[in-house]
Amino acid sequence: MHVSSEIPPLKLVVVGHVDHGKSTLIGRLLHETNSLPDGKAEAVIAMSERRGMPVEWAFVLDALQAERDQGITIDTTQIFFNTEKRNYVIIDAPGHKEFLKNMVSGAALSDAAVLVIDAKDGMQEQSRRHGYILHLLGVRQVAVVINKMDLADYREERFQELTTEIRNYLSELGLEASAIIPVSAREGQGLISAPDRMPWYQGPSLVQVLDAFTPPVLPTERPLRLPVQDVYKFDERRIIAGRIESGRIRTGDTILISPSNKKVTVKSIESWNTNAPALSASAGQSVGITLSEQLFIERGQMISHEANAPVETNVFRARIFWLGRKPLEVGKRYKLKLANNEQTVEVQSIETVIDVENLTTHSGDTLERNAIGEVTLRARAMLALDEFSDNPKTGRFVLVDEYDTVGGGTIFMEGYPDQRSRTDVRSTNITAVEHRVTPELRAHANGHEGGVLWLTGLSGAGKSTIAIELEQQLFAKGYQVYVLDGDNVRFGLSSDLGFAPEDRVENIRRVGEVAKLFASAGVLVITAFISPYRADRDRARSIAPDLFHEVYVAADVATCEGRDPKGLYKKARAGEIKEFTGVSAPYEEPVTPEVTVDTADRTANESVAELMAYVEENFSLVKRNGDGR
């Protein structure tokens, strides 16, 4: 019986530990569903006889000479078969540890998975690793086959025992098996119909479970994501080419291009050999569009609508599976490929290495081949991306080292904000006013230039203590000086903001703008904010680049936690404060601060004296001109 080929086949990956019988299962399944070409079954029987062994259905797949000799599947094979309900493509993924890259290559293509486990051996290392990787890749439909039940004398107790173990492991991953089926592939038990050798089993056969899987649904209802693949100018049209990963696009739509943040209108959707010009296109389609304006657009940029734009960031977290011969290392740079974007990223840190055996985690400086871990990656440039849970297609990436793909990962943003700028001027009809009192006049009147001393560092590093003391000493010397303190600002200017990453970004933006106003008025402003993200401090600097002086108040977490003047670390450790910098949220050290004061091994007075000297050197007109006031 043949099913219409007009319905796309369901893509099925078969995974599991080496020698647990994946290829045999597939070969037998093809035979039982009458999917083998004429003569193939006879050929397999003859081939087995020639080698003096019982019928080995794995020979159906192991087409290559080398494989037959070694008896292991080297690569991903794709085999087409059908049941009465529909067509399938089976991807036979190798179970040998050496070939994880091939298992990933196969599993990433699949809509559903069959995890094969040997009834005698039970769960082995690669059974667990494959289970974990299915989870990482986002494969959610999984049938577990307990194979070789004939070698366990078809005993129900053995089946129940394994079922409990498997369910426990998968549930810790957040995976639930669609079914767990006792099978003997060699004997043809449990594949198509109820296994007569196991009358105690009342559940579905493998084919019944497969037929109940649902085909993938294109994400047409998610926000639009159209990564720019290329720009063509073959004729008078300038065509932006790309595949719509999610959502829909229509002619006349206003689209946003990230990370340049330009807006433009879709003029047309181009095609060749179609009946009528398309007015809209949706997820899955490879399209070519033209725009109403000739903007600079290049491969790697992301097209979306203005509402529901992708996250914009240069730093993000990821769960990674590593395939490289050389381990992934902190501080090392790799090429990131995310949709059509290619950028250099540096491994900022490895948070955890995951042990697939028991799902425990430990820390480490490297991820070895075939390992899985959580890392933080930093790019030089801004990236447009999504969290994997929001949009798998634009929330995953591969890493390339030299010439090879060495790993894959899925993105999550925990602890890091969306850096998409909120500084777009939303008001219209506004014009900047020219002052007649120039900065020079103000400086002359005050005897010093205005500016911003931006103190950054962990809670407890001594920012506020230093700022208040410095303010007092400078004031005594006649400076126009004012401290903007973190807590004080949060009573008023930022009383509407909390401590979520996005709120912190906005808080720092406001402080940056206020500091600039003070500094422009001729005042020396001292700010005392943790300001943990490099990007935010850079943005504060960009508000007033000539006036900005970054001061790193440096002390390690242990020192700060020892001081804990406000008892915050204690609360953070107890879980009472979430997203606390240094404990449960990151602090990114300044790269090139104007001043670093190390408070771990000196007194507050010594630090203040150091900064006093810096201010006199850089802001005072008295010293520089020597003319007094």
Binding site: H2, S5, T77, Q229, G284, S286, R396, V398, D404, T405
Partner: protein
């Protein structure tokens, strides 16, 4: 979006990736149904254009209908066609079985053409469902300096992130219709109205299901005289597509040896 739309979109994506990554690339146009579909898909990808040369390695033993077809459509489609003759059989590895050795002439001609044109990449219209070793192929498949294929150590390929970084001297085969089946090809030919050589249609109870050299390709028994009839025939058959291609059947590993050495 139906099944054919999805197949087309994926092929277009692959061709566009290849065109972005390689300045010097070409597409093999064997004149068979699959390569005609592939040329058609290139015109879809590049909005009516084929922005790279089509290449044909002439064994001198193709059917006359195929040469006529080539002449007609290379002009009608306005493509840049490069034709080179295959070297004589005497220059080919004599340890290969006869039909395999004959087919290997094409591999040798292709190697020479790649060297002559300094091509970084060649687009070939193979499919996973055709034959077991092709099932193991990657979409972007690197070859060594002598065009050989190392099936034991293929690059990982997932999430449509193809291998696009190479050591100097690496040559790449690109397979934009790897994921299509024979039936998909026929349905697409039907939907799009793609021209094909009429040897595919039944004459006197026989038709060709796969086209190669005259002396090593055999017709099958068939009454299918239209595309509709071919589709109906294929939906019922359990005979392999390449059953009429002699070199696939001379030895258990004949085709594998051909491919490892650089055959398509």
């Amino acid at each position: 979006m139906d099944h054919l739309d999805a197949l087309e979109a994926q092929s277009v994506y692959i061709l566009r990736e290849a065109f972005n990554k390689f300045d010097r690339m070409g597409m093999l146009w064997s004149l068979g149904k699959d390569s005609n579909v592939m040329v058609w898909l290139a015109r879809k990808a590049f909005l009516g254009h084929v922005p790279f040369p089509l290449m044909f390695c002439d064994t001198g033993k193709k059917f006359p209908e195929m040469y006529d077809f080539q002449k007609k459509y290379s002009a009608e489609w306005g493509v840049n066609l490069i034709v080179r003759d295959c070297p004589p059989i005497e220059e080919i590895d004599p340890t290969l079985p006869p039909a395999t050795r004959s087919a290997a002439r094409k591999t040798e001609a292709l190697k020479r053409l790649i060297a002559e044109q300094d091509m970084q990449a060649v687009v070939a219209g193979i499919r996973r469902d055709e034959e077991a070793t092709r099932a193991k192929e990657r979409v972007f498949s690197p070859r060594g300096e002598n065009a050989e294929w190392d099936f034991r150590d293929q690059p990982p390929e997932f999430w449509d992130q193809f291998k696009t970084d190479f050591a100097p001297g690496t040559h790449i085969r690109i397979h934009p219709i790897l994921h299509w089946t024979e039936l998909d090809i026929w349905r697409y030919i039907q939907r799009e109205g793609i021209p094909i050589v009429d040897l595919y249609f039944s004459k006197n109870g026989k038709r060709y299901r796969s086209l190669g050299d005259q002396d090593i390709t055999n017709p099958i028994e068939s009454e299918a005289g239209t595309i509709e009839e071919i589709i109906a025939e294929l939906e019922g058959t359990t005979i392999a597509e390449r059953s009429g291609r002699a070199m696939d059947h001379e030895a258990e590993d004949a085709f594998e040896r051909l491919r490892t050495a650089g055959y398509m």
